[in-house]
Amino acid sequence: MGRSQEQGEGQGPIHSIRLSTVGAARPTETGTTHEPTGLDLAMKLHYLKAAYIYSPETARDLTVRHMKESMFMLFDQIAWTTGRFSRRDSGRPYIKCNDCGTRFVEGQCNLTVEEWLSQPDRSVDEFLVYHQPIGPELAISPLIYVQLTRFKCGGLGLGLSWANIIGDSFSLFYAFNFWTKAITGETIHAPIPSKGDRGFQSPNPTVKDPVSVKRIDPVGDLWVTPNNKKMATYCFNLSVADQISPHFPANGDNSIPVFEIIAGIIWKCVAKVRAEPEPVTVTIIKKDPNDLKPNNAIRNSQVISSVQVDFPVAEATVEELVRSIGEAKDERFGIEEIGGSCDGNLDFVVYGAKLTFVDLSGEDLYGARVMGKSPHSVYFNVEGVGEEGLVVVYAAAKSEERVVTVTLPEEEMEMVKLEFKKCGMIAP
């Protein structure tokens, strides 16, 4: 679902779009470069999108100038993300840290925050995140886009679109939180370390052919996932008590693996729709529990693991699926190897190579406080998802709820929604 926007044209309900550039305050030394790891390169066709909506009381007095100034403070810490991609003679992409900047988009919306949030399918928040892929000219493609949408009531929508090659979703949230602190005027005590070790500990160094990654034909310098099918997105809220717990036998200690249950239920629904062939392999993406806290640098360190079952999914119980998901195998080592092979000239799809489930439920998204107030609503999705589809689970405003963003081929979406209704995930 790539919505590319032309300068000045509205994207749906957003109008009066103005583009400008923001960057880092201090000049980077000439000749500085940033080398992506194999894992980074494997993610290059994907883009992470997050949209945060703040109420008028919080955001009414925030000027564009102030927002830009605080962006400069953020990019002072991660100046390398304001660079541009280039290729070595061997074809391997690297970032030229030339302080070129990121694109800052301003837009207006004729609805109030309340009217905007009244729409049940939260995927309308995609309009709050300006996105353009990297390419066809690498040298003039920003890696990050920031959108500031002013609602009629004075509320603010902050959208961040970030190329996954820079860092994973956890890094994105970390950077966004840093920005909100800068907006609020809190002195930055802990700058984002940029020279941290970008490796990861993997218990499975022997996995050679990761199934969670699919090699595709070369895309050249336009980093867009080639899909034959048009993808659609649907986003909805789930109540843990009412819609998730009933699917799982009650545990003595009252703790249930919410993400795994949601993944299991959705896996089953998709399997019922997608009968031939059934998706017996899925990819699970989670935060690395061994990762040094806080997230030590902006990088790709998320655990990408694969689950394979040998029983028919559509008939299986949720418990069985949850158990299988628990036995997922970490494939990062293999992905790192294959991503960096052939001098980084190969192109891969990770999200959607197999039906992918991303667990962001541990992230405190509503901790991104501006002027002391949490956002009203947070939306997250990935751009450039492969045809097998993607499910992202993350925290909702209320702690007993979760938000689920599902991206599937358009032709499957309606039938999957029907399955959701059947198992009580969404209201009929």
Binding site: Q7, R18, L19, S20, T21, V22, G23, A25, R26, P27, R65, K68, E69, F72, R84, K96, N98, D99, C100, G101, E137, A139, I140
Partner: protein
């Protein structure tokens, strides 16, 4: 060996010649005074008194002589022009959010001029050789794609630059807005109604009988023209001060077309501004930094080529921009020569003037092929502030005036850090010299500015108190990094 010894000998001959000619009168007076002193000592006090009595001085004679002396001294002091003191000045430092790195500028250029790759290529080559650094700034409106140069944005830039510089000046000098007697603003390309001077009067609630002037259209040399106006006004108004604001507002003048000669200013002109406080009050003499010695203005506008060489006009598509002709350097050289001819006799020591005169006479009478003698201005000045119009201007002047790298360092470093800030660049350069701790009491500074028309204006200041470092100013956070080596071509 003989070469070295002969050049050393020549150096001593030159030095001897300079001492002889420059201190001629002193050298003449010494034997005279010596003779008189010896004679007096020889005569003894008795004889001196006898001689004096014999002159028959009467009371009337003495009174008349004293009155004559007093009358002559009064006339002399009254007709002496009032000294104009530069109390202090402040240069605007743009916020880091306005920074324009090379890569950013080129990316914007490629996105806006996507149908004219040749123009983009041209801009890149200009930027590579421009001598600018990565920290120059453009106003917020120009950071948009495409740039959004509305009148409101231009006014905002003017307010940002001028008010910040003025507030800094108030803080530095303790000046109260109500005490300003004369206000002169010069901004060449943005001239709204009400004027920028009216904008300042409104903001700071200045007095209703203030003498305010707004100079527009006078190019990059307008800063010194403002100083000239202030000087003349301060001759007429005793016990007054004058505030001069020199700036160039970039927002409305960003060229939106693709004509190459008109894209050049986009690459070089950057945000900047300065506020200067001048005074003719004796009480300010103790805290002033400089006093104005000379100000020479030369205008080449009578010559058609000079008049047309910097021309604001519309291109084929109707976009307004500034067209710089290819003869710019030649014309600048000629304007400089005209200016030097006038200022030379005022500042050069007698030895240089004599040499110049003899070389001139020699060329006219004996042999026109003799090389013209270029007076050594390094003997007249310790510091030079050459308008940072571009690398070519600084190179040309360094060659013409035979200046060393250190003399033009202030100009080159200002071009690198701030770009071409038009009329205010001279003040950034002066600030650089102060920040480096090179400005000592009795040092003389020569400020040279060029501007459309074609004009060459120069001012000579004398430092009246040593400026101690560290100075607060636009260089305070980066002076340790300077001077930097600026490569001939920066690879983008």
């Amino acid at each position: 060996m003989s070469d070295i010894s002969s050049s050393v000998k020549l150096k001593y001959v030159k030095l001897g010649y300079q001492y002889l000619v420059n201190h001629f009168l002193t050298l003449l007076l010494i034997p005279f005074i010596a003779t008189v002193a010896i004679e007096l000592l020889r005569m003894g006090s008795q004889e001196i008194f006898t001689v004096l009595y014999s002159l028959h001085f009467e009371v009337l004679h003495i009174l008349c002589s004293s009155f004559l002396i007093i009358f002559v001294s009064t006339v002399y002091f009254m007709s002496k022009p009032r000294t104009v003191y530069l109390v202090d000045y402040s240069c605007y430092k743009p916020p880091v959010t306005c920074r324009v790195p090379f890569s950013s500028f080129m990316e914007h250029s490629r996105l806006i001029l996507k149908d004219n790759p040749k123009s983009v290529e041209f801009q890149m080559r200009i930027l590579e050789r421009s001598g600018l650094g990565e920290e120059t700034c453009l106003p917020p409106a120009i950071h948009y794609l495409p740039p959004a140069p509305t009148m409101e944005a231009a006014r905002n830039e003017a307010q940002m630059v001028i008010f910040t510089a003025m507030e800094d000046l108030f803080k530095k000098t303790g000046l109260k807005p109500k005490d300003i007697d004369i206000l002169i603003v010069n901004c060449s390309l943005f001239s709204p109604t009400p004027s920028l001077s009216a904008m300042i009067i409104n903001k700071y609630k200045l007095r209703s009988n203030i003498k305010s002037y707004n100079l527009s259209g006078m190019g990059c040399s307008a800063g010194l023209i403002s100083v000239d106006v202030a000087r003349d006004l301060l001759q007429v108004h005793p016990n007054s001060n004058a505030v001069i604001i020199s700036t160039e507002i970039i927002t409305p003048n960003y060229y939106k077309g693709n004509e190459r000669a008109m894209l050049l200013p986009n690459c070089l002109f950057r945000m900047g501004g300065a506020a200067v406080l001048l005074s003719n009050r004796r009480s300010d003499r103790w805290r002033a930094k400089y006093k104005l010695c000379h100000l020479v203005r030369t205008h080449q506008g009578a010559d058609d080529k000079a008049y047309y060489c910097v021309m604001e006009e519309e291109d084929k598509e109707g976009n307004v921009g500034i067209n710089l002709s290819k003869d710019l350097m030649t014309i600048a050289g000629e304007a400089l020569k005209a200016n030097i001819t006038t200022i030379g006799p005022l500042v050069l020591p007698a030895s240089e003037q004599l040499l110049f005169l003899s070389s001139l006479i020699g060329r006219k009478i004996f042999n026109p092929k003799w090389k013209p003698y270029i007076p050594d201005f390094k003997q007249a000045f310790e510091h030079f502030c050459i308008h940072a119009g571009g690398r070519a201007v600084i190179d040309e002047l360094q060659k013409s005036l035979q200046l060393s790298g250190e003399h033009v360092e202030a100009s080159r470093m200002t071009l690198h850090r701030f770009g071409n800030t038009s009329s205010s660049s001279l003040w950034y350069e002066l600030s650089y010299i102060e920040a480096q701790g090179r400005m000592k009491r009795n040092d003389r500074v020569w400020q040279i500015a060029f501007g459309s028309g074609f004009k060459c204006n120069s001012a000579v200041w004398k430092c009246i108190r040593t400026i101690k470092t560290p100075t607060d100013g636009p260089w305070s956070d980066c002076i340790e990094r300077y001077p930097v080596f600026i490569p001939e071509v920066v690879k983008l």
